[in-house]
Amino acid sequence: MANLAATTAILNNKRHPFRRLLRQPGAVISLLILIGLVAATAGAPLLASRPPNEANPLAAFRPPDAEFPMGTDNLGRDMLARFLYGGRVSLQIGLFAAAIGAVIGVTIGLIAGYAGGWIDSVIGWFIEVLMTFPGVLLALIVVAILGPGVVNVMIAVGVSFVPSFTRMTRAAALQVREQDYVTAARAFGSNDFSIIVRHIAPNVIRPVLALITLGTGSAILEAAALSFIGLGVQPPDPEWGAMLNAGRAFVGQAWWVTAFPGLGIFLTVLSINLLGDALSDVAAGTDL
């Protein structure tokens, strides 16, 4: 009976993945947090009462109060302004990086998974080689080649996500390729390009989308880490990772200088991870 109910639920809900997502409290809360963070950082010029780089030595290390809701740093700069403008940069780098990784990774993955044979073997070998540079090392290599800087970090983090996105897409495409409707399309004389675009990609996208969402969280973490070690955004410009690096010398004197940027990264990534988990549940049908 339970099985029958679940099956009926899946059949009834198949058309409304977004509505199913909104039925999960965790997903709704994280969506709201994300929308709030994006709106606040996008509206930085309206919300911040001072420019983020304006120093005021007389107001150094002011704890949070009505005038400075997030306090001030060692140079007396308004931490709220820096948090908002810095968050803008952090989110932009992370999102663009994830997008770069997703576009390249999904494209290569689709080609490898659909083509099979030697094309798949060569791509697989190349991905294997890239994966031999663990974690942040691949991004570091790209930064080493291109030089430090915001745009280069964006590209570097994007490239470092290509191997995992390619693998995921390839695995999903391999399964879809064997489906009857693909064979049918081939029998009708569709060419490879149209089969990939019209039949493989749409059926691969749902599971891959969940993993890309999770990857976006990791991309934001990795980009902030690169700025933290001084390879991304350069001072005095604010960015959450760079702000943590600048503030770590003063943890004993002024907790608020590192607390807010840290919290910003943490909340963003946590919300994205919760959303990604909910999306995987929807994609796998385990939310019903």
Binding site: W125, F126, E128, V129, L130, T132, F133, P134, G135, V136, L137, L140, I141, V143, A144, I145, L146, G147, P148, G217, L221, A224, A225, F228, I229, G230, L231, G241, L244, N245, G247, R248, V251, G252, W255, T258, P261, G262, I265, F266, V269, L270, I272, N273, L274, D277
Partner: protein, 308 residues
């Protein structure tokens, strides 16, 4: 088993060949003339450009340069650092032990804490304890290591005054906070996988049989469920090692701890390409070795996947 070993060995060699090509190309992929990338466009005089070009052998065709690069590596010569004029291999050899120490210590913390939390969470599936731990796990996965490290400094160095935030490397206490930072962050990842793996095993029919036979739950968990749940976990140990090794870049910067990570950042900032190539190659080879070993271990404990 022998066939698997041979096959695995040749696959690793093939990947290693790719790694060496990519490492070699780091210098040549830099936009513009690599000599200018190293010297900086303004400072370079025509003579210094020629001298560096000759000393790096950049006048030869690429395949010749690559062959020489390989030949030098085989002889254990990773070139000379542009910044310090010292052999790259000895600069790496000086910093490697500290990073390996940090990696192993954090791996021990990550494995013990991750296993414990994952097991407790899975064995209490659906109860409040599992819910609390699941939230803690996802929070841990979302935590930036560098912020976790700052919070640990705030707690243990500033508030409680138990541990130094930075200490000479000879002081064993200098390892505790960095290892804890890196280890706890990775523990969340391990706990997540342990929980999923154990829950998967707990739903298997043979455990239902064990229950039906009237075995005590404790015996079922320890004798039947755990050993099988451990199999996927062994396969990710190599991956974890690599993540911790590269995670040391951030943690060493945070705690002002000497090591390969800090050397990497200095090398990138000073565009010291021979040093960058050396570090990248050493880390990739270590990682490849560890991964091959874990794969072999995996094949030993799990006879089902000997040939893929």
């Amino acid at each position: 088993m022998n066939r698997y070993l041979v096959r695995r060995f040749f696959l690793s060699l093939l990947v290693l060949a790719g790694v060496s090509v990519l490492t070699f190309l780091i210098l040549h992929l830099a936009p513009g003339d690599p000599v200018y990338a190293i010297l900086g466009r303004q400072a370079a005089s025509a003579e210094s450009v020629q001298a560096l070009r000759a000393s790096l052998g950049l006048n030869d065709p690429l395949p010749v340069q690559y062959a020489r690069f390989l030949e030098n590596i085989v002889r254990g010569d990773l070139g000379t650092s542009i910044r310090t004029d010292r052999p790259v291999i000895s600069m790496i050899a000086e910093q490697l032990p500290s990073t390996i120490q940090l990696t192993l210590a954090s791996m021990a913390i990550a494995t013990v804490v991750g296993l414990f939390i994952g097991l407790v969470s899975a064995l209490n599936r659906g109860r409040w304890l599992d819910r609390v731990l699941t939230v803690a796990i996802i929070a841990g996965v979302s935590m930036p290591t560098f912020w976790l490290g700052i919070l640990l400094i705030l707690l243990f160095s500033v508030q409680l005054r138990w541990l130094p935030s930075a200490a000479p490397a000879s002081d064993p206490r200098s390892l505790i906070l960095p290892a804890l930072t890196l280890g706890l962050a990775e523990a969340a990842v391990i706990a997540r996988i342990v929980r999923a793996s154990l829950i998967d095993v707990l739903d298997q029919p043979y455990l239902m049989v064990a229950h039906a036979k009237g075995l005590r739950p404790r015996r079922i968990n320890w004798r039947h469920a755990l050993p099988n749940a451990m199999i996927p976990i062994v396969s990710i140990l190599g991956l974890q090692f690599g993540l911790l090794l590269s995670g040391s870049v951030v943690v060493e910067a945070l705690f002002a701890r000497p090591g390969l990570g800090r050397l990497t950042v200095t090398a990138i900032n000073s565009r010291d390409f021979p040093l960058i190539q050396g570090i990248v190659l050493v880390i990739a080879i270590i990682y490849l070795l560890v991964n091959t070993l874990t794969d072999l271990l995996y094949a030993v404990i799990n006879p089902r996947v000997r040939l893929t």
